[in-house]
């Protein structure tokens, strides 16, 4: 994955390039590191294990999962606005499966993830087969998912009472001794799987190819429609997983939350250096982008920046982080 954070799907060219590539990789983290150092100096609780793991990382999980999933979609040159409300719908369906229908935990979780896959499949079909612009197809899905989440839940949160294990999915800690919440582990494990999928498998290769030049990909004999659809389904599975994680964390499925998460996730992806024009991007970048947003939200509150100023600072830091990334690439 060395150079991939920068470039996409390639291994570094020459041996002398390895060192430079390694440095590049480090530079990708630059803004994150700068921000972390800043908060470490200005707050004495920021750089504690407890804050970093239980606050920063835990709050990265949901947006991070959405961002990881939607990275695939964005690299194809698409966009998915339905991830936020789609997540709520999946959370609600998880509640329906586990609480209302009393299905076993694993089946309920699987079902919720598959509902996410279904959302992705519908989006993907609209984009790939019916040629809807992704913005429109997923905007419609955003509205439809929001509506359905409210309709299905009868506009009330569904509380997980029957399956105590459900909450442990997010807040428990499967590794004895080390106090890392499962949600964080699940996030990193799935991010790594996603990175492998993107960089080391045929799905990832076609994802880049379609985003780079869909016509040329089609002429090369690749079934662009089918693979585009597959990419949206993958994105959808992550929506489902995010829905499970947010409802497990809150011990409840909140039907009205969700809107706004799509912008945060897309922002994380773009801060991570993935281009909305398609063809370029990396999973490492997306994870870093998600962390930057989470660290900022946490750190600004810790150093008691008044909330109305927090947005101003957040905006400026996003510009700074992206500018650093742009400089880094230009220097290559």
């Amino acid at each position: 994955m060395t150079q991939t954070a920068v470039q996409g799907a390639q291994a570094p060219a020459l041996n002398r390039g390895r060192l430079r590539a390694g440095l590049q990789q480090l530079l990708a983290f630059a803004s994150l590191i700068v921000i972390v150092i800043f908060f470490s100096l200005t707050s004495d609780v920021f750089f504690t294990y407890d804050n970093l793991v239980n606050n920063v990382l835990v709050s990265t999980v949901v947006v991070g999962l959405l961002a990881v999933g939607t990275t695939f979609v964005i690299i194809t040159g698409g966009i998915d606005l339905s991830i936020g409300t789609g997540m709520s719908l999946c959370a609600v369906m998880s509640g329906v499966f586990i609480e209302n229908l009393g299905l076993p935990l694993w089946l309920g979780v699987l079902g919720a993830v598959l509902v996410g896959g279904l959302i992705g499949a519908v989006n993907g079909a609209a984009v790939a087969f019916f040629k809807f612009p992704p913005f429109i197809a997923t905007l419609a899905m955003m509205l439809i998912a929001q509506g359905l989440a409210l309709v299905i839940s009868h506009t009330s949160p569904i509380y997980f009472t029957k399956a105590p294990g459900y909450i442990d999915l997010a807040s428990g800690s499967i590794i004895p001794g080390i106090d890392v919440p499962n949600a964080v582990l699940i996030f990193f494990v799935t991010a790594i799987i996603a990175a492998i999928l993107l960089n080391k498998t045929i799905v990832g290769r076609y994802t880049y190819a379609i985003g780079s030049n869909a016509d040329a990909t089609a002429i090369s004999g690749i079934n662009v429609r089918r693979w585009t659809w597959v990419v949206y389904v993958i994105g959808g599975l992550f929506i489902g997983l995010a829905g499970v994680m947010i409802s497990a964390r809150l011990a409840s499925a909140q039907p009205a939350t969700g809107q706004g998460y799509e912008l945060q996730a897309i922002a994380a992806v773009v801060i991570g250096g993935t281009s909305l024009a398609g063809g370029k991007g990396s999973m490492v970048g997306t994870v870093i982008g998600s962390l930057i947003i989470a660290v900022l939200n946490n750190g600004l509150q810790l150093i008691s920046v008044p909330q109305e100023w927090q947005n101003v600072v957040l905006g400026c830091v996003i510009l700074f982080a992206v500018y650093m990334d742009m400089l880094r690439r230009r220097e290559r």
Partner: protein, 547 residues
């Protein structure tokens, strides 16, 4: 409905069949044919691109397909590649009728194609592009990047192409991108290889390499369809030449028994004034543009020359010599690290092409898709783009009617084949797209015109017209730089020839000093100091060129 025509041994030229149904009793056994196309028609909105088209490819031959811009060559090839489906007609492969359902199917049938317009994924590497859809894998899913690059390296070694499998395609020059396309097409175990203007972006040395590749590809079981507007290379590479005009089959000639003059007159359907030479012996003494010590970070080193009023200054050099970079640096499309540009005696700073254009310097890029055209806009808009400020009336409003009049004039003058000036440029044939770019700069009326490969993809007839046009412009007092990879063109058209090698200007030759040998000499005159920055590919290229 259709019977085969022609002599089994191909000794006699086919008789043209104006009705297009190809009825003719004589013909070889269909087993001798690799590929047959009969009665194929294809219509686009407002354009009948192919009308009862007919083509036969024999085993073991190179069949050249020629025709004017917009004659329908690429359309026919796209039908064969499964990109379009025909409105009517049949395809026979090895005598058996096939329906080509898509690009993948065409590949499976053993038909491999190099498209006229690049069809590469710029964000992927060279190797990834070549093996797209056929990546070496562990199991069904996991990619093996190592084996991929090894396969590509082996391929390049076999084809003797100076390509780096790991380089990103977006970083390659047009010529190298063309090489990637060629390598990709050859990497399939194809029986029918279709090349749609593979040499438009190549210079003579690279063309030789390509021809060598084709000869090696050809076996008794394979065949090549070769499309080109370079008449000189048809003689060198093809066995037979099929001529088409306005979407219709005209004739098929045996190369060894025909003259290019005959081919051309069949193609354009009229006599051509050939071998236009500059109207004046040399330009005036008035220096319009002076470039002094131009250098860039990457490549250019101390490039100096003067351009006179009324002069056509040819630029020759091997691929990557830096001709394009000189042009881009002059107009400010790229930054230069040192040097000075004087316009009519005063030093000017041209930070970007808009300032250059405002100062009367126009640049026509070699890469028309990327830097030349608004592909999704209409012909009229593209033609007027550079000169919109000329068409502002009443302070703010665009004078649309005046624009339309100009656009129609240009379509007529340059014989741009388009149903109307409202056709989207994307739907024009490659050569006609190039004409649109030229039209844009003609309307702009600059004092200094830098034409980078202006005749790329343009048919012979139109080429002559463009040469005449360049001469007329020069005679009118414009100063013209013509960058071209076609040496004959450079030699014919230039008052003087500038030769470049690895970012340096190695010679400025007067017309009578310039010939094939002298230019080749200076084009390979590498400075002994320093050495090249990016040595390997260029070195190999030059070997190929001098071989």
């Amino acid at each position: 409905m259709f019977t085969l025509t022609g002599d089994p041994d191909g000794e006699e030229p086919y008789v043209s069949n104006p009705s297009g149904d190809g009825t003719n009793a004589r013909g070889p056994m269909s087993g001798d044919y690799l590929l047959q196309v009969s009665g194929v028609s294809k219509e686009f909105p407002g354009v009948k691109a192919l009308d009862q088209m007919h083509l036969e490819l024999r085993k073991g031959e190179v069949l050249a397909l020629v025709g004017e811009n917009g004659a329908g060559k690429s359309t026919l090839m796209k039908l064969l590649a499964g990109v379009y489906t025909p409105d009517s007609g049949r395809f026979l492969l090895d005598g058996e009728e096939v329906e080509i359902s898509g690009p993948k199917h065409a590949q499976e049938l053993g038909v491999s194609i190099i498209h006229q317009e690049f069809n590469l994924m710029p964000d992927l590497t060279v190797a990834q592009n070549i093996y797209i859809g056929r990546e070496p894998r562990w199991g069904d899913f996991l990619l093996s990047e190592k084996r991929l690059n090894e396969a590509a390296s082996a391929l390049f070694e076999r084809l003797e192409l100076p390509l780096d499998p790991r380089q990103k395609v977006s970083e390659l020059t047009v010529a190298k991108q063309q090489m990637v396309e060629i390598a990709k097409a050859l990497s399939y175990d194809a029986r029918v290889l279709i090349m749609d203007e593979p040499t438009a972006a190549l210079n003579d040395a690279e063309v030789a390499v390509l021809h060598d590749l084709i000869r090696r590809f050809r076996t008794p079981e394979t065949g090549v369809i070769y499309i080109s507007h370079r008449m000189d290379e048809l003689k060198a590479i093809s066995d037979r030449i099929e001529v088409i005009r306005d979407g219709r089959y005209i004739d098929t000639l045996t190369t060894s028994e025909t003259t290019m003059r005959e081919v051309i007159s069949l193609m354009v359907g009229r006599e051509l004034k050939e071998n236009v030479r500059p109207e004046t012996e040399h330009g005036t003494d008035e220096v319009v543009l002076a470039v002094r010590g131009l250098s860039t970070k990457e490549l250019l080193h101390d490039v100096s020359f003067e351009l006179h009023r009324g002069e056509i200054l040819g630029f020759a050099g091997l691929m990557g010599a830096g001709r394009t970079e000189v042009a881009r640096a002059i107009v400010g499309a790229d930054r230069h690290s040192a040097g000075e540009i004087e316009l009519k005696g005063t030093s000017v700073r041209l930070p970007n092409p808009s300032v250059a254009a405002a100062n009367g310097i126009g640049y026509l890029s070699e890469d028309r898709k990327r830097f030349g055209l608004l592909l999704d806009q209409r012909v009229g808009f593209n033609v007027a783009l550079s000169s919109l400020t000329k068409y502002v009336g009443l302070g703010v409003f665009m004078k649309d009617n005046a624009i339309r009049v100009t656009a129609r004039e240009m379509v007529e003058t340059l014989r741009i084949k388009t149903p109307s000036i409202d056709q989207t440029v994307q739907n024009l044939s490659g050569g006609n797209q190039q004409k649109v770019v030229i039209a844009k700069w003609l309307v702009k009326d600059c004092d200094v015109l830098i034409f980078d490969e202006p005749t790329r993809g343009i048919d012979v007839g139109a080429k002559e017209e463009i040469y005449q046009l360049l001469n007329r412009l020069a005679a009118e007092g414009k100063a013209i730089i013509m960058i071209s990879s076609e040496l004959p063109e450079v030699l014919r058209m230039s008052h003087r020839v500038a030769v470049m090698c690895e970012g340096r200007l190695t010679a400025l030759l007067a017309a009578d000093e310039a010939d094939q040998e002298s230019i080749m000499h200076y084009a390979t005159l590498r400075p002994d100091v320093l050495g090249a920055v990016d040595e390997t590919p260029e070195a190999e290229m030059q070997e190929a060129g001098t071989r």
